[in-house]
Symmetry: C2
Subunit: 510 residues, 2 copies
C-alpha cells in the first residue's frame, strides 16, 4: 500500500513510529526465542538468573509501549484529520499499539505493581494447591485476582457487560451479547449429541491406543508428516516439552514442541498437528509485516481456529487417515496389525466425557469451555464469588457432561489460566472451533474436492487457500473483519453444530 | 567486600552505575544466548531477519556503554577523591567500563561507521578469496583494515609501539616490549625442539586415528568424560557445530559445542576438552559477580590458558590416558584392539609441521602464532604492507616450520581474524599456552600428586584449585595481577619451554 504524502510533522511521526514499532518487535522476537530456549534447551541452574535478564528486556518492551514517545506519536497519528489518511497497514499498527497503550495507561502504576506481585504469588499458590488438592489454599489469591479483574473491567470500560472488557483482551471486539447465543447453541446441541451417542451405546476400539508405541518411531512419524501437511521445516523446528506449544521468532523461524508418551501415541500425534496449525499460520504471514506488530496472528480465537482446523477438521478426518494410516502402520506394524483404517478413524474420534479439559475429545471439549465461560462471566458480574467455585464447577460438570470430579485437583484446580489473571482467555478455545467449522464450510465451497486432496496427501492447495484468505494478513484485520472477509459472514456457530452432528452420526451410526 | 558510606551524590552514582551495569549485562547475556541459538538451533530461513533483531539489541548495549549517563557516572566514580574509596569490586567494574568508554568515544562516529561497513564487506571478501584462492580479491579490504588499525592505534595512544594499543584490546596492559622476549624465547626453543624431533626420526602411530569411529559412540564418550573432568552438565550443554566454541549465558548456563568427524576421533575429543576448559572457568566465576561486567574471564589469554591447560597439560598427559584409555577402548574395542595405552599416548602427542594452524600440534602451534604476531607488528608499524603478506607468510613458514604452502588458501588466507579487524588477537593463543605452563608449575608445587589425581580420574581437587586461584575472580583482576597472584610471578615463558622439552623428550626419546 502506498502512503500519501503528509506534512512534515506527520511524516516525521510516521518514521518515528515505524522505528519504535521495529524496536519493540525486535525485542519481542528475542524474548520469544529466549522463552522457547528456557523451556526447551536451557540447563536448569541458569534459569533463575536468566529470568532476571529477560525480565529486564520485558520491562523495556513495556516501557517503550507506554512511553511518552509512544503516547505523543499515537496522539498525532490518531487525530481525526491524520488517521483517515493513513494507509491500512499503518492504521492497523496504530490500532494495535493504541489499544495496548490505553489499557496499560488506564491502570495506575501502583495498582498494576500490586497485581503483578499477586499473580506471581497466585501462580505458586495454584501449583501447590493443585499438587495437594487444596482449593482453600488457592482461594484467597483467586479472590483477590477476581477483585482486580472486576476493577480492571470498570477501568477499561464496557458497554453492556463487565466481562466484555476482559474478553476484548483476547478477542478484540467480542462481547457477551454476541457470544452468549453462539455458545448457547453450541452447548445445547453438544449436550444433546453427547446424550444420543451415549444412548446409542456403540463402542469404538480406542483400546488400540493402550499399547506401547516406541518413542523413537513416534518421533520419526511426526517428522514425516509435518512437511507433508505444510509446515516448512527450514523455517521451523520440532522439539519436546511436557506442555506443547508453538513459539514464533519470525516468519522464517517458528518452533513447535510436542510431548511423546509411550502408551499414548495420540498425544504427540494430534499435539504436533495442532501446534503445526499455529505454526503454519505464522510461517505464512506476509513478510512485509515482519519486524512489526502485525507479524503475528489476528487473535487468540483465530489462532486457535487454525490449530483446531488442522488437528480436527483435517487431522481427524477419514481421508486424512486413508492417506496416512498405511504410513503409520509401517512405523507400528505390530501394534496396528489387526486394526483396519475404518476402525482407526473411529478410534481417533472416540467421544467419552472426561474430567480433564486438555484430554477431552472434539465434542466434549466445548462443554468444558462452556463451564469456564459461565463461571468467569458470573464471577466478574458478581453473581458468584470465588469460594463458590468448587460447588458450581461440579454441578455444571454433572449437568453438561454427566460426571462429577472426586477431587478439586481433577476439577476446578486443573487449569493454570486464572492464576495468572487470564480471565477471558477460555472462550478463545471454543471460538477457535466455531471459526474453524465456518472456515471449513467456505473452503469446501471454494475447493469442492477439499477432502480428496487430503485423501491424496496433497495439502498445497489447502494451505495456499488458508494463506491467501487468512494467514497472510497477520494482525492487519480485526478477527471480525477477517472472518467476514474470508467467509462472507460474521461468526456463526451453526457450522460447528452441523459439522459435529454429521461427523458423530457417521462415527457412531446415529 | 563492604562499601564505605559516601556522600549522597556518589552514593546515587554508585546505585545508578549498578543498575546500568546490570542492564548491560542482562542484555549481553541475552545476546550470548541468541548468538548460540543462531549457530546451533535456528532454522536457516529465520536467521537473516533475526540478525536485525539482535542488531537492535547490540546497538542498545553499545549506546548504553557510551551513553552520557555512563560518561557522567564514570566521571564521578573515577575522580581521584572518589575512586580511591571504592571497594575492589566496584573499582574493577569501573575499570572495565572506562576502558571501553574511552576507546569507543575516542573514535569519531563517522570513522567508526565506515570501519563497521568495511569489516562486514571484508569478511565476505575474505570468504570468497579463500574459497577461490584469490588473495588479490581480499587485498584492497585488508589494506583498508590495516590503515584503520594504524589510525586507531594512534587515536588510542601507546607508549612505545603502536601495536601495543591493539594488543591491549585483547590482553589489557600487554606490550610489545614485554611480549617480544617471551615469544622470542618460545620461538627459538620450539624451532630447535622441532628440529631435534625431526632428526630423531622416530615415528608415532598416529595412523590409528585413520579409522572410522562411530559418531554416536564418540558422542557418548564425550558426554561421559565431561562431568568427570569437572564440567557441570546441569549448568551447561554440549551441542554440535562446524566451528566449536563455548558460550556463556550466565554461570549456571554455559554452552559448549564440538564437531564430530567419523575419521578423526581426535577432533571432537580434544575439541570438547578444550571448550570444557573455557566452560568450567565461566561456571566457576563467583556468583556475586553475576549480572555484572565482571561475570566473564579476565582476558583472552587467561581464558585460553584454561582451555589449553585442560586440553594439553591434562588431556594429553600420560596419566589422563592411563585413566581414560580403558574407557575409550570399551567404546571402540575394534578400532583400538591392538593399540596399547603407551602407543595411544604417543599418538595423541604426535608432532608434525602442518600448514593449517587449527590443526597444528601442541609444539608447532606456537610457531604458527609467531608468524602472525610478527606480521601484525610489522604491518602496524609500517615495516611491511598488506601486499607483501603472501611472500612474508611463506618465507616465515619455511623458516620456522620447514614447509611452504602451495596456495594462499592454505597460507595467508586461512584465518578469519584480520577480516573482522581482529589484529592483536592471535598472540592470545600462545599467551594461553605460556600462562598454562606457568600455572601447571604452580599447581604441581601446591598439589605434588597432581598427575596422580588425574591418573585416578579425580579432578575435584584440581578444579577446586583452579577455581580458587583463577576462575572465581572473573574480571576482578587484570591478567597480570591475576597471574602474579596465582603463581607468584609475572608471565614467564621458561615454564612452557621446559614443559615442551620434557614432554617431547619423553614422547620422542630425545
Amino acid at each position: 500500500m502506498e502512503q500519501k504524502v503528509f506534512d512534515p510533522t506527520v511524516q516525521k511521526a510516521l518514521e518515528q513510529f515505524k522505528r519504535l514499532d521495529e524496536k519493540i518487535t525486535h525485542y519481542s522476537s528475542v524474548i520469544g526465542l529466549v522463552d522457547w530456549d528456557q523451556k526447551v534447551m536451557a540447563p536448569k541452574k541458569g534459569r533463575r538468573v536468566f529470568a532476571k535478564a529477560t525480565g529486564t528486556l520485558r520491562t523495556e518492551v513495556f516501557k517503550l509501549s507506554v512511553s511518552t514517545e509512544m503516547g505523543d506519536l499515537l496522539a498525532v497519528l490518531t487525530s481525526p484529520e491524520n488517521f483517515v489518511s493513513l494507509n491500512g497497514v499503518t492504521k492497523a499498527k496504530v490500532r494495535e499499539y493504541k489499544a495496548y497503550y490505553q489499557k496499560s495507561k488506564s491502570i495506575p502504576a501502583d495498582l498494576f505493581q500490586e497485581y503483578s506481585i499477586l499473580t506471581a504469588q497466585a501462580n505458586d499458590a495454584w501449583e501447590e494447591a493443585r499438587a495437594n488438592n487444596d482449593f482453600p489454599h488457592y482461594l484467597p489469591y483467586l479472590e483477590k485476582i477476581v477483585d482486580f479483574k472486576r476493577k480492571f473491567a470498570e477501568i477499561y470500560g464496557y458497554e453492556e457487560h463487565p466481562y466484555d472488557a476482559l474478553l476484548d483482551e483476547f478477542e478484540p471486539g467480542l462481547t457477551v451479547k454476541r457470544l452468549d447465543p453462539l455458545f448457547a447453541k453450541l452447548r445445547e446441541s453438544s449436550v444433546r449429541l453427547l446424550e444420543k451417542i451415549q444412548n446409542r451405546g456403540k463402542r469404538t476400539h480406542d483400546e488400540i491406543f493402550n499399547q506401547s508405541f516406541e518413542i523413537e518411531k513416534q518421533k520419526e512419524f511426526n517428522r514425516f508428516i509435518l512437511p507433508i501437511i505444510g509446515f516448512d521445516m527450514e523455517a521451523g523446528r520440532l522439539d519436546e516439552t511436557i506442555h506443547p506449544f508453538a513459539q514464533t521468532v519470525n516468519t522464517g523461524d517458528v518452533r513447535l514442541t510436542t510431548r511423546y508418551i509411550e502408551n499414548n501415541v495420540r498425544s504427540a500425534l494430534f499435539g504436533t498437528i495442532h501446534e503445526a496449525g499455529h505454526g503454519i499460520y505464522e510461517q505464512h504471514v506476509n513478510p512485509e509485516f515482519e519486524e512489526s506488530v502485525l507479524q503475528s496472528g489476528a487473535s487468540f480465537g483465530i489462532h486457535e481456529s487454525q490449530s483446531r482446523f488442522l488437528e480436527n477438521m483435517v487431522g481427524r478426518s477419514k481421508e486424512f487417515w486413508n492417506y496416512f494410516y498405511p504410513h503409520l502402520k509401517s512405523y507400528f506394524p505390530k501394534q496396528l496389525e489387526n486394526v483396519t483404517v475404518a476402525e482407526f478413524y473411529r478410534a481417533v474420534n472416540t467421544v467419552k466425557p472426561s474430567l480433564i479439559r486438555v484430554e477431552a475429545d472434539e465434542l466434549t471439549y466445548n462443554l468444558h469451555i462452556m463451564i469456564r465461560y459461565e463461571i468467569e462471566k458470573a464471577l466478574i458480574s458478581g453473581e458468584i464469588e470465588a469460594k463458590d467455585l468448587p460447588a458450581t464447577w461440579n454441578q455444571k460438570m454433572q449437568e453438561y457432561l454427566g460426571i462429577t470430579p472426586n477431587t478439586d485437583r481433577d476439577g476446578v484446580l486443573q487449569d493454570v489460566h486464572w492464576s495468572f489473571g487470564g480471565i477471558g482467555y477460555f472462550p478463545s478455545y471454543s471460538l477457535g472451533n466455531i471459526y474453524s467449522a465456518q472456515i471449513l464450510r467456505t473452503i469446501q465451497k471454494e475447493i469442492p474436492d477439499f477432502y480428496q486432496h487430503i485423501g491424496n496427501g496433497r495439502f498445497e492447495l489447502i494451505q495456499a487457500w488458508l494463506k491467501e484468505k487468512i494467514h497472510q494478513y497477520g494482525k492487519l484485520y480485526t478477527p471480525n473483519e477477517l472472518i467476514v472477509k474470508a467467509t462472507g459472514e460474521e461468526l456463526n456457530a451453526e457450522y460447528l453444530v452441523e459439522y459435529l452432528e454429521k461427523k458423530y452420526s457417521e462415527v457412531y451410526g446415529l
